[in-house]
């Protein structure tokens, strides 16, 4: 049983990691764009903390939180080393051999790929579900509707997690579409849910458990999570204060997190510079 304290600790950990990336960015060691997740960490933590080893997750351009909360081995060290150019990972192209499979930097690109991964699980008779994280902007891509439809048609064990922060770079959602995301999912035949962090972590966590249990029975679903984006779309500048910070009132000894972050930066700085480019064809 995951406690509210466990969840908050994980949220705080990711918050501090993202803050450390922001504060170290001006040293020009991380020579790439970064898409930070400060303000929405809870959404990834609440979902990913419930995934089991045979589950898989796919992300998007803002997926540090998912990558870090899936519990894959050494993910923090690998992330920081990737940001410094020391391995094949980067802020927009993370992957692992564990739960977190991959994420793509073209909006909506991972939607049908997640559907295919869920189809493979079903065809191979494997346990486990696929979780696809997307933002409100990705629901404007035609491929979203096509992916929802396939997942229902084939009764796939897939959960679409829409992290709705109301922004596509700086364009507000009202300037982009007028439909209700959950209602569209319902119309396509998915189980649909809407959750807001104001209900508290216990209720969020219990709701997600119930949703995931239904997905495990082969009922494709979508959950829309109302999140906030504190930072600019890309970069390290703060754009706004959080209205509902789930970490308000939480205090804990942070030294373990601080050490972990310090070790990850040291690991990345001491990692050798890569010399080999991966080829374009698999063996």
């Amino acid at each position: 049983m995951i406690t509210q304290s466990d969840l908050r600790y994980q949220i705080l950990r990711i918050r501090k990691i993202e803050q450390a990336i922001a504060s170290e960015y001006s040293k020009l060691e991380m020579r790439q764009p970064v898409h930070l997740d400060i303000g929405a960490e809870w959404a990834s933590v609440v979902v990913c903390s419930q995934l089991e080893p045979h589950d898989n997750a796919f992300g998007n351009h803002r997926s540090h939180s998912q990558f870090l909360s899936c519990g894959d081995k050494d993910s923090l060290k690998q992330l920081i080393a990737g940001l410094m150019g020391k391995n094949d990972l980067s802020s927009m192209h993370l992957s692992s051999d564990g739960i977190f499979v991959a994420y793509g930097s073209i909006v909506g690109g991972m939607l049908p790929i997640s559907v295919g991964a869920a189809l493979a699980k079903k065809l191979k008779g494997e346990k486990g579900i696929v979780v696809c994280f997307l933002g409100d902007g990705a629901t404007e891509e035609g491929i979203w509707a096509e992916s929802l439809s396939f997942s229902v048609l084939w009764e796939l064990p897939i959960l679409f997690v829409v992290q709705n922060n109301g922004l596509a770079v700086t364009t507000p959602i009202k300037a982009r579409h007028k439909y209700d995301i959950s209602e569209v999912a319902k119309a396509y035949g998915l189980g649909e849910h809407y959750l807001n962090c104001r209900v508290g972590l216990d209720l969020l966590s219990n709701s997600v458990t119930a949703i995931i249990n239904r997905v495990r029975l082969g009922k494709p679903s979508l959950v829309e999570l109302d999140v906030e984006r504190k930072m600019v779309h890309c970069g390290i500048d703060v754009e706004r204060d959080l209205l509902h910070d789930i970490l308000d009132g939480y205090s804990v000894d942070e030294s373990a997190i601080d050490n972990e972050i310090k070790e990850a930066f040291e690991f990345a700085r001491n990692s050798p510079e890569p010399t080999e480019v991966r080829g374009v064809y698999a063996d």
């Binding site: 764009p33 094949d88 192209h93 909006v107 364009t171 982009r176 510079e273 480019v277 374009v280």
Partner: protein, 343 residues
């Protein structure tokens, strides 16, 4: 003549076309963003509030919609902040290319896009897909280099009755140059000799034209006189201008912004070998980026793009001279500092 940035030149071209023709409209993801797509759409919403649209993240549908508007009396400009995003709409772009030949009616459409480079842009924010578009008959595909041409070619593209793809290199958007205040056009099918020379012809495309010019200065110190051609249009290619130069120099190096294999530069060389074989004094050379997607790690991109040293080495080899690369202390993943000054 006023000095402006390349981005300002595009903004001015769009502004003047929207002023003179009320059927010109613009749509693009982020076109109302405070930064205004690198400044290219800045201030236009205030002047033409009903004809500038921000866009949902629906590249395929928007491309189809601008085709629909184009065949129904509008002159749309569709803007992508990265060329990579246009790849979500390859089928509608292919449809636009075929509209005239299939239905005999014009499709006056501009699709303007930015090629990213450097600072960890990685495999999906740095593609240079002009060869893909150039392979679709019916599209005009242009890549201006100077701010002057950026304005003149944008205006020509907007006036044109065909779908025109205009690719702007991210590393050109901040360079400055002379740009007349008034509206003017630059043809969409002509290369330009930007530096006269007699020993070797260097054909650059977009940003690589600047690299060719810089290489020509180094080659001069070896006693090699390079003629530099700015290709400007990749579909159609202005073979007349290139052949004229080749007839003079007998030596050819084409430098592409895209992967070498199957690049526009390779097809130019192939055509010239086919029809002007006797004019070559030595084998031509094509330089481009490596044939794999751009890694994000800056440690792995040092030799990814064709560099000034690569151009100098290729040209020097043709004369039995050995080019010794100059050790640079400048970072390779940001534009060369010389290029921020007047073009």
């Amino acid at each position: 003549m006023p000095i402006k940035t390349y981005a300002q030149a595009i903004q001015e071209a769009t502004d003047q076309c929207m002023l003179e023709d009320s059927t010109v409209m613009l749509i693009g993801e982020g076109s109302l963003d405070p930064s205004g797509i690198f400044g290219t759409t800045k201030g236009l919403k205030d002047k033409y509030p009903t004809r500038i649209f921000d866009s949902p993240l629906s590249e395929a549908a928007i491309t189809g919609a601008v085709i629909g508007a184009a065949i129904s009396g509008m002159r749309p400009i569709h803007v992508h902040q990265r060329a990579d995003f246009s790849l979500l709409a390859v089928d509608p772009i292919s449809t636009a290319a075929k509209w005239y030949s299939t239905f005999g009616k014009p499709c006056p459409l501009v699709i303007s896009m930015v090629i990213g480079r450097g600072w960890g842009q990685g495999s999906t924010h740095s593609q240079s897909p002009q060869n893909l578009f150039a392979s679709l008959p019916g599209l005009k595909v242009v890549m201006p280099t100077s701010p002057y041409d950026a304005k003149g070619m944008m205006i020509s593209a907007i006036h044109d009755n065909n779908p025109v793809i205009v690719l702007h290199h991210r590393w050109l958007l901040d360079i400055t140059g002379e740009v007349p205040e008034e509206s003017y056009t630059v043809p969409l099918d002509q290369a330009e000799v930007v530096k006269q020379g007699s020993d070797v012809t260097l054909v650059g495309t977009s940003y690589t034209t600047l690299e060719c010019l810089r290489a020509s200065e180094i080659l001069e110190t070896y006693g090699v006189s390079a003629e530099v051609i700015d290709l400007r249009s990749v579909a159609p290619v202005d073979f007349v201008t290139i052949r004229k130069s080749l007839n003079k120099t007998g030596r050819l190096i084409c430098v592409d912004t895209s992967h070498k294999t199957n690049s526009v530069s390779e097809s130019i060389v192939a055509r010239l070998v086919e029809d002007s074989f006797d004019k070559f004094k030595c084998a031509p050379v094509v330089l481009g980026s490596k044939d794999y997607p751009q890694p994000t790690s800056h440690f792995l991109t040092k030799d990814y793009y064709a560099s000034v040293d690569d151009i100098c080495s290729a040209a020097s080899n043709m004369f039995g001279i050995i080019h010794v690369p100059v050790e640079s202390t400048e970072p390779h993943d940001v534009p060369h500092k010389n290029y921020s000054i007047t073009f």
